[in-house]
Structure formats: structure tokens, C-alpha cells
């Protein structure tokens, strides 16, 4: 089986998520070639074929051009699967490639299962097994679902380029709001989710965080509702964290949040729903009312 992996590059850097593609390919047991629109100053540590386009010429976000480059590489490599990370780059580009090739796309893969791909659905509560009809296709893998794997070595670079403007003009990046909290460095994080009920209850979660000597985190809905500032958001559009202890209070476990914290060493989840998706990655799931359990735990910890 042959795969063409599409690497990720942004703001002058090769993204680590690129190596998750190798982790996936390894699980698939497939041969790999890679395409990257990036820079030869930031080559992946990998010993196979690398189709490299210059991001300063082809743009970091220029889907029409990038699609052309990929199609060119597909012509040469004839892979069974073209694999992207399910990121803001991948989910934007993959369907364009799939449509051009008229092949199936399977999105946000979390596992492999008897000849098919396992993906999440219904807010991560359920799973589906999907099979491309033709045994070929475009795949996107869930960010953080596969281990980072550096194959090692130096790539055999084949320079490729494309011309034209494409139908999109990339104007530039807008920096994220200043973070007053760097959750990436925190060793203990206690996060508040929608299950805490209301803004007034945030101090209760914060109290537990303080009692444990950690930082306050939050899921996206809680930040969107204005209960907690964005700098505390954990998840794909917030911060990705890997503390020693992560306590998720009233967080159901939407994929975007899980992706941001599933690498934590030890995860305790408190949720009144026994079947909440967060239970799958939690080391301990406490089935209880957050607002009853957390104050009681804080009180005992503080003693």
C-alpha cells in the first residue's frame, strides 16, 4: 500500500502534526512519500521521497495552487491514499483533491478496523466504519489520534512548483489574543465545561485549581459564552496541553477539546453523564454533579 502524506507548514515552521502522518502510515503498514509546501530550511526528519514546493512562492494558504501540486505528485506516485491531518489546512484542501480525482474522502480517522476506517460521529458519542468503494481515496486523520513518529534521515527532495494566483488571495495572519496564562507549561489543569451550569460557578472550579496548585482551563463553549477568557481555552482553537494532571469538570468531551488535552498524563473527568465521550480517555470518570463534587473535593484537598 502506498500513501502520499501532505505535510503541514505555517508561519515559517514545519508543524509537529506532520509527524502524526508517519505514525498513521506506520499503523497502516504503508509505504510513504510526502508532499510539503514549505522550505528547505525546515525539512522533515524522514528518509523517503519529498515533493517540496517553496511556500514563499506558492503561499502557505493557497488551496488552488496546493491542489495542483498535490495532483502533480499523485500523477508521479500513484498512491492508494493521500493523507492529510484533519486541521484547518487539511480539511480545507483534502476535499478539493478528492473532488478533482473523484475518489472518496474519509474524514478525521481515529482508527483502523477490518479493512475500513473508524471515524467519530454524533459529537464523538458514536463511531462509524467507512470504506472507500474503490480501495483508493483521500484520508484525513484526527489531530492527536496518531503518535508522532519521526522516521529519521534526510529526504530525497524533488522540487515542484505551480504558477498562477488561484482564486484566493491570502492577506495574512492575525495573532491570537495575548495569553495571560500559558497552559502549555502548567503541570496541573482544572477545566470548566458547560456542565458547570453558569458563569457564577466558575470560581468553584478555580478554587479547585488553586487548591491543587494548578491553572484554570476551559472548554470552547464556556469561552464562547463569556464565562472564562479565551486564554484559558483548551482545544484545537485554544491551547494544546499535556499536564501531569488534567481535571475536566462538566466537559462532555467534544473532539476539539479532547484533541487539546488527551496527551495529559492523568485525566480525571467529572460528569453527571456516565456515557460522556470524555470517559473514553479519562483514567477516572466520576459520575456526579460537578457543583456538588468539586466543592467537596476542594474542601478536603485544602485540609
Amino acid at each position: 500500500m502506498k500513501t502520499l502524506l501532505i505535510g503541514e507548514y505555517r508561519e515559517g515552521k514545519l508543524l509537529d502534526s506532520t509527524y502524526e502522518l508517519f505514525g498513521f502510515a506506520a499503523q497502516l503498514g504503508a509505504d510513504t512519500a510526502m508532499l510539503l509546501v514549505g522550505s528547505d530550511a525546515q525539512l522533515p526528519a524522514y528518509g523517503g521521497t519529498l515533493y517540496l514546493a517553496d511556500a514563499s512562492v506558492c503561499g502557505e494558504y493557497s488551496p488552488d495552487l496546493h491542489k495542483q501540486l498535490i495532483l502533480e505528485a499523485v500523477q508521479k506516485e500513484n498512491p492508494d491514499y493521500i493523507v492529510f491531518v484533519h486541521s484547518s489546512y487539511g480539511w480545507d484542501l483534502a476535499p478539493r483533491v478528492a473532488a478533482s480525482l473523484k475518489v472518496a474522502q474519509v474524514s478525521e480517522i481515529v482508527g483502523l478496523v477490518d479493512g475500513g476506517f473508524e471515524v467519530g460521529c454524533c459529537n464523538a458519542k458514536m463511531r462509524r466504519t467507512v470504506k472507500p468503494a474503490s480501495g483508493r481515496g483521500v484520508l484525513t486523520i484526527q489531530a492527536g489520534a496518531y503518535p508522532v513518529l519521526q522516521p529519521g534521515g534526510s529526504p530525497a527532495v524533488q522540487k515542484i512548483t505551480a504558477a498562477g494566483g488561484g482564486s484566493l488571495e491570502f492577506v495574512g495572519y492575525e495573532a491570537a489574543e495575548k495569553k495571560d496564562v500559558d497552559l502549555g507549561k502548567a503541570e496541573i489543569i482544572v477545566s470548566a465545561g458547560r456542565g458547570i451550569g453558569k458563569k457564577d460557578n466558575v470560581p468553584v472550579i478555580l478554587a479547585l485549581a488553586k487548591a491543587l496548585g494548578g491553572e484554570l482551563g476551559a472548554s470552547r463553549p464556556v469561552v464562547d459564552a463569556g464565562w472564562v477568557e479565551h486564554s484559558h481555552q483548551v482545544g484545537t482553537t485554544g491551547q494544546t496541553v499535556s499536564p501531569k494532571l488534567y481535571v475536566a469538570c462538566g466537559i462532555s468531551g467534544a473532539i476539539q477539546h479532547l484533541a487539546g488535552m488527551k496527551k495529559s498524563d492523568f485525566i480525571i473527568a467529572i460528569n453527571k453523564d456516565k456515557d460522556a465521550p470524555i470517559g473514553e480517555i479519562a483514567d477516572v470518570l466520576v459520575v456526579a454533579d460537578v457543583m456538588q463534587f468539586v466543592p467537596a473535593l476542594t474542601a478536603k484537598v485544602a485540609r
Partner: protein, 663 residues
């Protein structure tokens, strides 16, 4: 000597015709003043408050003359009632003098005002006058010296009090002057029957007889002019309440308390829903501003106002009047403010205590309707989410509707879908179905029914929110949609009787659903259990406990269910220590008016205030029978730090654990 007095003594009968002409003129000015108000009131929509005429008249006469609504609150109320009766007596007395002078004497040659009757007449009137003066002094001290919090002082207050004072004083001075000239020396025994005049007369003893006559005449005309002035002032000052407030006793609605107009959603021509400007309110809503005397009793009892939220029911009533007069096109919501409107819990304390029969609550609801239906506004995002949840899953929590009946697994009841042959349909409500604390109430209610041999059915997943909270927030559309679905299901099962453990569902199903086509008996479980006990279908083994009881707004003030829960708890072995604010004066838990779905962001917590009132009784237990109250009190106990001293439980829980074990 004869016990009588010469009417028009020193004034002369020549005064009669000019007097009557001027009197009619003054009354004319008064009527004209009121007539000018008509176009202002008429800016509001039509409303028929003239049906059942005889009943209305009877009610008005009873309320006005008994002053029962006035002295309900003794602060100010006692003074007013006494003042009113005194003034009424003086007025009646003056009328009697007029009839005597212009009718009995010339036409019948009969002098009623003589002998024992005259003595009694004079004594009663003098005492009335003295009492009136004392009460006036009381008004004055209360308003200007004690200055109760929130009592506004306006120009009117100075004018009216001084006018009344002057009228009464001149009345006594005239009497005194007359008695100084004709009675003090000539008939001292008779003078004793006019103690006020006797006292006033001492002022004139030094005057020469001629000076006395002149003084008397001047005083008489002064008094007459003041009275003319009084009549003219009525429509232009607070004195208008003599007529407008009395009229409100006539105009008060006959509909059941809490009745709200059901909007006809089929009317394709309707462009405005709810009240945006005063022309969207009824004429009665504008008239209420004229009937309001700013007594502030509503404000004092408003749970939102007393916890520093920007709502004052009195202010809203006045603002509507002001807009009607000076800016009829002005926006109601902008004048009153959204914060004030959303703060209302519809507890009805304002309307219940109002001595002027003003209807505060529905004005607020109509303005909320405008906010919700015309602007899609919400008091907060959390409310919008809850309302969305009701749309999608029929409950504010957003929990799957299919799980609504799960709380009842294993309990002795049936789901109507399987077996609809039941004694009662238990309309469970969202809280008892989904909220853990309230599920205990539902389970205990079932236990009680089972013990009484009552076969209970529930709708389970076919039941939806009754729609009450969204209706009170102004969303008449969603209310009617969800109500229609409930009614369809209930009717399909041919239900004969509904019982509910929630006063809000109770009010809505028993009263509001009638407008939408459901007309079957609906009871709240507190009266239902009371009946079971009285008919001995249910017996309790009393176990003593000390408690205080909270009258939920929607049971007490709305439905007059006050004694039955107390009777039940007494039978259960309870000894009650009543809170100061109990029965009709009960203080809201804060969750009515749709606010159960909202966060309390302003002022202090109403639930904590009520918990403080409960702890002040010294009772270790607070009993309520409403899921909103139970939820708010569990909350208030925690946030108010009363966990060590107070516990809250529902009536159903107390009853269920005292069911007598049968042989």
C-alpha cells in the same frame, strides 16, 4: 333652650343662590378636568370593563366604604381609613345641613336638626373633625418627619395636605365663632356637644360682637372658597384618587387571577405583538396611572425591588401615565428599561397589596411580549439556550425528550401510551422529570397515591414543558405551540382529571389552557392530598417536627391555596412557626416569571433573602410545595451559608414518610 342652630346664621339666605351657582361651577370645573383626561386614556386599546354592572357597583361601594384594602397595611393605612370615615361623616353632615336648609325647612317645615338628634349630630361631626385633624397631623408627620424610605414627596403633597388642613381648621373656626356669638354664654350645656367648636370658640371671646360677626362671615366665605378650590383641585392633583381609585374598584377584572390575554396567532393582519408604545396597551393600563396614589406598597413588597434590582412596579405604572401624557409615541421599553422588565418574577405581590386595584403584572408581560416577539430579545444567553432547548426537546435542560419518563421506572404507575385507564393523569413537569432533587418529590407523590389506592398515569416522553416560563417571558408563540401539543395528547387519552406537583403547571393547565381548548379539572397535589386525607382514602401517622412554611406565589396569591397545605402538615405532626411574610404577604423565591431559567445578575439574591426570613423563625425545616421554590431554596441555603441551620423539604416528602401502615 332648644338644641338647634340657625343655618345660615349671620350669612343670610341671600347667599343660597350664589352659593349653589358657584358650587355647580366648581363641580363643572372638576368634571371638565376629568373630561380632559379622556383623550389620554383613550389612546389605549378598547377593553370592556363595564359588564356585570351591578356586581361592579357593589364591589366598588363595599371596597371604598369599608376601606378594607387601605387598612390592610396599617402604616399610613390606619390613618387614611380613619381620615376617610371622618371626612365622609363631615361631608354627609354638610349634605344633611344643605337638605335641611333648602328642602326640609322651606318645603316641609320640619327641623330634623334639633333636639337629641342635633346634639348627637353635632357631637359626632365635631369628633369626626377632630379625628380628621389628628389623622392629617399623622399624615404630615409620616410624610415629612418620619419620611418612610421610597416615599416620594411632590408638590401635590404640600398643596393637598395644606388644603385639607385649612378646610378642617376653618370649619372649626366658623363653628367656634358662631358659638362664641350664640351659644357659649347663651346655652353652655348645648355647647358641650360641640367640643371642637367649644375649644375654637375660646379664640373669639375677646372680640367685640361686631368684629365677631365680621370674622364669622369672612371665615365662612373662606371655608366656602377653600371647598370650591378643593373640588376644582380634584382632577389636577392627587385628590383625583377620590374618583379614579374608587373607579378602579369598579373597573377591576373579574377574570381569574393571573389571566393573560391569549394572542390570536391566526390573525394574519396583526403587525404588532405585545406593547411597544402606550397605544398597544389598553385604556385601563393608562387609567391605572391616574388611580395610582404613589403609596409605594407595591414597591415595598416587590422582591426584585427590595434586593436592589432596577424594578419598581409603581414607577412603571407612573411611567406609562407620563408617556401617555407627554410622549405617546415614545418607546415603552426604553422608558421602563429592559433590566427592570426582565427582573419581574410575576409574584403578584404588587397587585395583591395594591389598594387601588392597579394591574401591574400584565403591563410588564405585554412589554415583554414586545421584546420577545418583535425583537427576539432575551434577558441573557442562558435563557435563550433554555428556550431553544424547550423548542427542540420540550424541556429547558436540553436533555433528550425520550428520557422524560425514566424517573418513574419501577414505580407503581402507568405510562398512558401503554394503559390510559387511570384515575388521574399526573402532569409531572420538567423539573420533577429531569432534576434529581425534584424527582424525589415525584416519587414521593406516587408513593402517596399508591397508598391511597389512586391509579396514576403519566405521559412520559409524550409530555412537554407546559410552556409557562416561556409565556411569562413573553414568548406567546412557543407557549401556544407547546401547549397545543400537550393538549392534543391529553385529549386523545380522554383524561378525566389532572394533578400536578408544580404550581406553575397547575396555573397554566387549570386556567391558561382553557383558552386553548382544554377544560378538565386540574388540581395541585396539596389540595388533592388534603381531599384524600379528608375522605380517609389516605391516613397519616403523625410524627412531630418543627417547621416554617413558604407560600409559593402561584399557589397562595394566584390560587388562594393557603390553608390546605398547613392542614396537611399539621396532620403530619408539624408545629409551624410562621414567617412574618407569609400567606398573601409571602415573599417570592425568585424563580417565577420565567426567571427559573435566568441567572440573577443584579443586586442581592432573592432566594438568600427568603432563606434569611426562614432562619429567623428558628425552625430547622422549611417546607414548600413547588419545584422552583425547592430548587431556589436548596441553592439559597448553600450560597447563603445556612447549611448548618436550615433544611428544605417538599410537602410530598413529609407526607410520604408518614403514611400510616395498614394492617
Amino acid at each position: 333652650m332648644e338644641a338647634t342652630r340657625q343655618i345660615y346664621w349671620n350669612i343670610g339666605h341671600g347667599v343660597v343662590i350664589p352659593m349653589y351657582i358657584l358650587a355647580f361651577a366648581a363641580v363643572g370645573v372638576m368634571l371638565w378636568g376629568f373630561r380632559q383626561r379622556l383623550p389620554i386614556w383613550r389612546q389605549g386599546k378598547p377593553l370592556d370593563r363595564f359588564d356585570r354592572y351591578d356586581e361592579r357597583v357593589k364591589r366598588m361601594i363595599t371596597e371604598v366604604f369599608s376601606q378594607v384594602k387601605i387598612y390592610r397595611v396599617t402604616d399610613g393605612g390606619l390613618f387614611h381609613s380613619l381620615f376617610f370615615w371622618s371626612f365622609l361623616l363631615l361631608f354627609a353632615g354638610t349634605m344633611l345641613v344643605m337638605i335641611q336648609a333648602d328642602f326640609f325647612t322651606p318645603l316641609l317645615q320640619v327641623n330634623l336638626l334639633s333636639g337629641e338628634f342635633y346634639k348627637a349630630f353635632s357631637l359626632v361631626l365635631d369628633l369626626a373633625g377632630i379625628l380628621a385633624l389628628l389623622m392629617l397631623a399623622g399624615f404630615f408627620i409620616r410624610r415629612f418627619v418620619i419620611q418612610p424610605k421610597g416615599l416620594e414627596i411632590v408638590k401635590d403633597d404640600y398643596i393637598v395636605l395644606q388644603l385639607l388642613f385649612a378646610i378642617l381648621i376653618t370649619g372649626f373656626l366658623i363653628e367656634g365663632a358662631r358659638m362664641a356669638a350664640t351659644e357659649l354664654q347663651q346655652n353652655p350645656a348645648l355647647a358641650l356637644f360641640s367640643p371642637g367648636g367649644l375649644l375654637a370658640g375660646q379664640l373669639f371671646t375677646a372680640l367685640t360682637p361686631d368684629a365677631l360677626l365680621v370674622t364669622h362671615k369672612i371665615l365662612w366665605w373662606l371655608h366656602f372658597v377653600l371647598v370650591l378650590g378643593f373640588f376644582c383641585a380634584i382632577p389636577y392633583t392627587k385628590l383625583r384618587h377620590i374618583f379614579t381609585t374608587s373607579a378602579n374598584a369598579f373597573l377591576a377584572p373579574f377574570e381569574a387571577k393571573g389571566s393573560i390575554a391569549t394572542i390570536n396567532l391566526e390573525d394574519e393582519s396583526a403587525v404588532q405583538f405585545g406593547a411597544a408604545t402606550i397605544s398597544d396597551l389598553s385604556w385601563k393600563d393608562i387609567f391605572d396611572a391616574d388611580a395610582c396614589t404613589s403609596c409605594k406598597r407595591c414597591q415595598d413588597r416587590c422582591p426584585a425591588h427590595t434586593t436592589d434590582k432596577p424594578l419598581s412596579p409603581m414607577k412603571i405604572v407612573k411611567q406609562i401615565g407620563e408617556l401617555a401624557e407627554s410622549n405617546p409615541a415614545g418607546s415603552l421599553v426604553e422608558t421602563v428599561s429592559q433590566d427592570a422588565l426582565w427582573s419581574c418574577t410575576t409574584c403578584r405581590a404588587c397587585q395583591d397589596v395594591c389598594p387601588a386595584n392597579i394591574e401591574h403584572v400584565n403591563k410588564i408581560l405585554e412589554m415583554r411580549r414586545n421584546l420577545t416577539l418583535m425583537e427576539g430579545a432575551f434577558p441573557g444567553d442562558e435563557v435563550r439556550t433554555a428556550v431553544s432547548n424547550i423548542e427542540v426537546n420540550g424541556n429547558p435542560f436540553g436533555l433528550a425528550y425520550a428520557a422524560r419518563g425514566d424517573w418513574s421506572d419501577g414505580l407503581p404507575l402507568t405510562v398512558m401510551e401503554q394503559d390510559s385507564d387511570v384515575d388521574i393523569l399526573y402532569f409531572v413537569g420538567c423539573y420533577a422529570s429531569f432534576d434529581k432533587r425534584n424527582q424525589a418529590v415525584a416519587r414521593n407523590f406516587i408513593k402517596v397515591c399508591a397508598a391511597a389506592g389512586v391509579k396514576v398515569g403519566i405521559l412520559g416522553k409524550e409530555e412537554k414543558c407546559c410552556g409557562e416560563p416561556v409565556r411569562k417571558l413573553g414568548n406567546e408563540y412557543l407557549y401556544q405551540m407547546t401547549a397545543a401539543e400537550n393538549i392534543e395528547v391529553i385529549k386523545a387519552y380522554n383524561v378525566k382529571k389532572i394533578v400536578t406537583t408544580c404550581p406553575h403547571c397547575f396555573n397554566t393547565l387549570a386556567r391558561d389552557y382553557k383558552d386553548l381548548g382544554l377544560d378538565i379539572p386540574v388540581e395541585h397535589y396539596s389540595t388533592y392530598i388534603n381531599t384524600l386525607l379528608n375522605s380517609e382514602k389516605l391516613t397519616l401517622t403523625p410524627e412531630p417536627f418543627n417547621f416554617t412554611y413558604h407560600d409559593s406565589c402561584y399557589l397562595g396569591r394566584y390560587m388562594d391555596i393557603i390553608e390546605q397545605p398547613r392542614a396537611i402538615l399539621s396532620r403530619a405532626g408539624g408545629s409551624i412557626t410562621e414567617m412574618d411574610k407569609s400567606r398573601y404577604d409571602s415573599f417570592c423565591c425568585s424563580a417565577g416569571g420565567g426567571r427559573i431559567m435566568a441567572e440573577e445578575k443584579m443586586g442581592s439574591k432573592i432566594s438568600e433573602a427568603r432563606i434569611r426570613m426562614a432562619t429567623e423563625t428558628g425552625a430547622p425545616l422549611l417546607v414548600s410545595n413547588c419545584p422552583f421554590c425547592l430548587t431556589m431554596f436548596e441553592d439559597g441555603i448553600k450560597t447563603g451559608g445556612a447549611e448548618e441551620v436550615l433544611r428544605v423539604r417538599d410537602l410530598a416528602e413529609i407526607v410520604a414518610e408518614r403514611i400510616a401502615v395498614t394492617q
